[in-house]
């Protein structure tokens, strides 16, 4: 029965997952395969345009390949895409089924609503984990093809918080779709809220000290982690645990809502 439910959840999300996988491969591979070309462009810019006001990370990214990957993948561009993908994987659920007229069929099955939610969440988490592995493989393989030294543990130690942070957004998305009806409105709200979060946290990501009220929202900073991460102890485990707790809270709220809703 659980296998059948998981299979159902997979069928519902597989197109999104496959597109997400292709995006992950494309973006991660791009930054590895195009690194030399980007670096050459930057060197040209330094010579031809000395007036350009280069950001603080720029010079280091030019000479330090793992830092280049850190900036573009874990801290900036790919992180935002990652969060979007996590949100999109979480959209769906019984509210959506109700809109499509299949909720009656699903709810008439001899299974609890909790189980329905749990299997959907489980499949989404597995997909997010798969994307994490895909990202690591893309970066490592791309680096190897370009003969650029990239330590795997650097990737592992950065992708772990990325995965944990992604879980929070995934859980928030799973929760949101239990509250908001409609096909597209949950997507607008979810992605819009993510955008506002990044907007609000941008100064802290850029280096400003974290205000006390911003701590619960410091997920982007947490997902990026410190640039120089070499050991397991360098990972902000406290923050990771807090992320997982946040994901658990969203999940609990979503379950409660689903169990109390009329369909």
């Amino acid at each position: 029965m659980t296998r059948a439910l998981c299979h159902k959840a997979w069928l519902e999300t597989r197109t999104r997952f496959l597109v997400a996988a292709m995006i992950t491969i494309a973006v991660c591979a791009f930054f590895t395969l195009a690194h030399t070309w980007i670096e050459n462009g930057w060197e040209r810019d330094l010579i031809e345009h000395p007036e350009y006001d280069n950001p603080a990370w720029f010079l280091r990214a030019m000479r330090d390949y793992p830092f280049f990957i850190y900036h573009y993948v874990y801290s900036d561009f790919f992180q935002k895409i990652w969060v979007f993908l996590a949100v999109l994987l979480g959209i769906g659920g019984l509210s959506r089924e109700a809109a499509h007229g299949t909720a009656g069929f699903t709810l008439s099955l001899p299974i609890s609503r909790l189980r329905l939610f749990a299997t959907r969440a489980l499949v989404a988490v597995a997909e997010l984990f798969a994307l994490t592995v895909i990202a690591l493989v893309a970066i490592v393989l791309g680096s190897w093809v370009m003969r650029l030294p990239y330590p795997i543990d650097h990737g592992l130690l950065h992708l772990a918080p990325l995965f944990a942070g992604g879980l929070v957004f995934l859980a928030a998305s799973l929760c949101l779709t239990e509250f908001v009806e409609g096909e597209n409105t949950p997507v607008v709200i979810a992605l819009g809220a993510v955008g506002l979060l990044y907007f609000a946290m941008q100064p802290y990501v850029d280096g400003a000290p974290l205000d006390w009220f911003a701590v619960p929202f410091a997920i982007p900073k947490l997902m990026a982690g410190p640039a120089d991460i070499r050991r397991v102890g360098d990972v902000a485990w406290g923050g990771l645990v807090a992320s997982l707790a946040g994901a658990a809270v969203f999940t609990a709220i979503g379950i409660r809502r689903m169990q109390r809703s009329d369909y």
Partner: protein
């Protein structure tokens, strides 16, 4: 305008108003927080970049047209482009729509018009809020600048709306269109960073990067006409392709 055209547009509005309202709220929050955070953000920046000053127009430009407004508006435009006869077919109501004495072209055009109007309205919200709220932080922002930035922004950016609109006529899955649309736009963003393809950079046309006056970060008399016309032209082609696609399809 004939009564049936009015009704088609009303239908399109009713179909999309929840999304539009959600996006409008988010962009309103963006506009308000941009203004209210200005003093702290500018002060923080100046502390880090000792000896340099950040002007208010620069801050607004970095936060909105060149910053998160571009990011959030493009997401909103993509979501507004979703829907249409393919989704109605999946939902089971396409029979009703197609049973009306109206060409498929009119169905598509009515929805395109309403969605574009909504996208345009959304683009103006944050910049008009900057105009209205700047006195709260003892700053001012010229009306002409707010209107010009907003106009340039939405006209150049309508191509993203049209792209999503087109995708919603070729991809039937519920989340296929937004996923593919947002992914493609992200890929396009990277692509246009390549010098060889910089001429395709719609994002620069949206924020007026190439026509800002010196260090004022205001717009001058130059207007990026060519990229905007190109963007609108491509948007028009995408809408026409959507019409063709719907006309050719069996329901």
């Amino acid at each position: 305008m004939s009564k049936d055209t009015t009704m088609l547009m009303r239908k399109a509005w009713l179909e999309s108003k929840a999304r539009f309202t959600a996006a409008a709220i988010i962009l309103t929050l963006l506009g308000i927080s941009t203004v209210l955070r200005a003093p702290a953000t500018i002060a923080g920046w100046e502390r880090v970049h000792r000896g340099e000053q950040m002007s208010y127009p620069l801050y607004i430009w970095l936060s909105l047209p060149h910053g998160f407004l571009q990011f959030l508006w493009i997401i909103a435009a993509v979501i507004l482009g979703l829907g249409g006869l393919l989704r109605e077919d999946a939902a089971g109501s396409s029979g009703f729509s197609l049973g009306l004495p109206v060409s498929r072209r009119r169905h598509v055009l009515a929805r395109a018009a309403i969605g574009a109007a909504e996208a345009i309205a959304l683009g103006f919200i944050p910049l008009l809020l900057v105009l209205i709220l700047s006195p709260l932080v003892h700053r001012s922002y010229p009306l002409s600048q707010a209107l010009t930035f907003a106009t340039m922004f939405v006209l150049a950016g309508l191509v993203f709306y049209a792209f999503s609109f087109f995708l919603s006529h070729i991809l039937q899955g519920e989340y296929a269109a937004p996923t593919v649309g947002l992914a493609a736009i992200a890929a396009f963003y990277i692509f246009t960073k390549l010098p060889r393809f910089a001429f395709l950079n719609v994002f620069d046309a949206m924020d007026g990067k190439k026509v800002l006056v010196g260090y004022t970060f205001y717009l001058g008399s130059d207007f990026p006409i060519v990229p905007i016309v190109a963007s609108l032209g491509i948007a028009a082609v995408l809408i026409l392709l959507s019409i063709n696609r719907v006309n050719a399809r069996d329901f």
